[in-house]
């Protein structure tokens, strides 16, 4: 691999890491406060992509498409939290099974509505084409995804570390019952976090539609990636989602470039190693 290829593969890995972080941060946020391993998160991603695609087709506006994907899924996630997840709160097996059931229903609904073809979302005109970056020619959109992921990471870090709402979320992660007994309606906070996680999944669905297209099965693939990210980084940890995304993004990118036949081994090997050496993930347990 030449120096240029090495740099380009690294760049591709980092841009994929950006997308992974957008998906996994919501996934890990929901888990950290609610203890729900929301296996419908991949479906949220898929539906974000389809909503973005439809809106882009109808309006031609990428901003509206992104908003539709993010807000549409946030709204749907809010309804699901209120009507379904809240009823089984704290019953882990029911929560996980319900999320699996919901993901199956959402996947079938998407298939019935949009068919089985892979549909591509065109990048916004301003981010189409390539740009030269230190002698490396890279797609503008991928560069924008890295920037967006960093901005979202900073935004989430500020929310969690510097605001009262963030302190409430961290307190809820530490001891939910105690927070409730001190007058904070934890259920409402948890619902807000669920909606935020769904919003991030929806937005990343639109972004991912540019990367890989929108197609049946993208939900399960992205859920699997998110799971690997949070297992490697540490479930329930925002920093862990950052570390996990970068590790998985780079491993995937180099795996595709160097050993495409061994891709799954290359991807799951590190996860296995992390689980053996650090069962809670690299940064597990710290929000």
């Amino acid at each position: 691999m030449s120096g240029g290829e090495l740099l380009l593969t690294t760049f591709n890995g980092l841009s994929f890491a950006g997308l992974l972080f957008l998906v996994a941060s919501g996934f890990t946020l929901i888990f950290s406060l609610m203890g729900v391993l929301n296996l419908a998160h991949g479906s949220f991603y898929l539906w974000g992509g389809y909503l973005g695609l439809v809106t882009l087709g109808a309006t031609g506006s990428w901003v509206l498409a992104l908003l539709a994907g993010a807000l549409g899924v946030a709204l749907g996630g809010g309804v699901l939290e209120r009507l379904v997840f809240r009823r089984v709160r704290g019953i882990e097996l029911s929560e996980v099974l319900l999320s699996v059931g919901i993901s199956l229903v959402l996947a079938d609904l998407a298939l019935a509505q949009f068919g089985g073809d892979s549909l591509t979302i065109a990048p916004p005109a301003a981010l189409a084409g390539s740009v030269e970056l230190g002698g490396l020619v890279v797609p503008r959109f991928r560069l924008a995804v890295i920037v967006a992921a960093v901005l979202v990471m900073i935004g989430l870090a500020v929310l969690l570390r510097r605001t009262r709402v963030g302190a409430i979320i961290r307190a809820g992660v530490d001891d939910e019952e105690m927070l409730d007994a001190l007058g904070v309606n934890v259920r409402r906070v948890a619902a807000a976090v669920f909606v935020l996680g769904a919003l991030l999944a929806g937005a990343s669905g639109v972004v991912g539609g540019v990367f890989f297209g929108v197609y049946p099965g993208a939900d399960a693939e992205m859920l699997l990636f998110a799971l690997v990210v949070v297992v490697v980084g540490g479930l329930g940890s925002l920093q862990g989602a950052v570390v996990g995304s970068v590790v998985v993004g780079l491993v995937y990118s180099f795996g595709v470039a160097l050993a495409p036949d061994l891709l799954y081994f290359v991807l799951f090997g590190p996860m296995l190693l992390v689980l053996v050496l650090r069962p809670r993930g690299i940064l597990g347990g710290r929000l």
Binding site: G90, R164, A167, I168, R170, A171, V173, D174, D175, E177, M178, L179, D180, A181, L182, G183, V184, N185, V186, R286, L287
Partner: protein
Amino acid sequence: MSTFTVAGLAAGYQGHPVVDGIDLTVEPGEAVALAGRNGMGKTTTLRAVMGLAEPAVSAGSVRFGDVELHGKAPHHIARAGIGYVPQGRRIFRSLTVAEHLAVVARPARAGYEPWTMDRVNELFPRLAERAGQFAGTLSGGEQQMLAIARALMTNPLLVLLDEPSEGLAPQIVRQVGDIIAALHASGVGVLIAEQDLSMVRRVADRVYFLDRGTVAAQVTAAELDAHADLLERHLGVGAGHA
């Protein structure tokens, strides 16, 4: 403030009753102790009052003035004016001292001097010095003070304290006792579950002795010395130490 009344409270864990038929009252601004050895139902009573997931309450009522609290969610009970300082302190380890106070702060009730960050810092100068420190790094005594300060920031009319002396050195127990006495003097009602006699003497106007899940006796603080038998039976304190 209104009178706090627990009547016929029965509660337990996984179908096993722990308290059965607890009756007690706390008059406005009064400090009342629930005394008894380990396993007699003190913690269960306070947890049941707070409406926590466990124990399951099978009978009884918990009223604060005209408001029935039994069956309400813990945050509703807290907002009704009940502050809670749990056994084991249960501080939020990933929050700083200042964040602890900020996340639970609620507006004061009309007619009561509000507990603000400044007022709490005045009562707990040690915490004020450690405002930016993560709570998990505090000493046991400081964590206990933080648990009390945190409850005060909810601007309660009555504070429930569950064994605040537990695991603390005698000198720290005295400091915590002084603080509880100070907040009682400021007009906040106190219901304290405790088995440390010095703490009971320091803060309580009246004492209920719990024995195997029921109220076995009730005396005023002034009558404590005349009941060496109760102290021995329920707190394991010999006559010579009473």
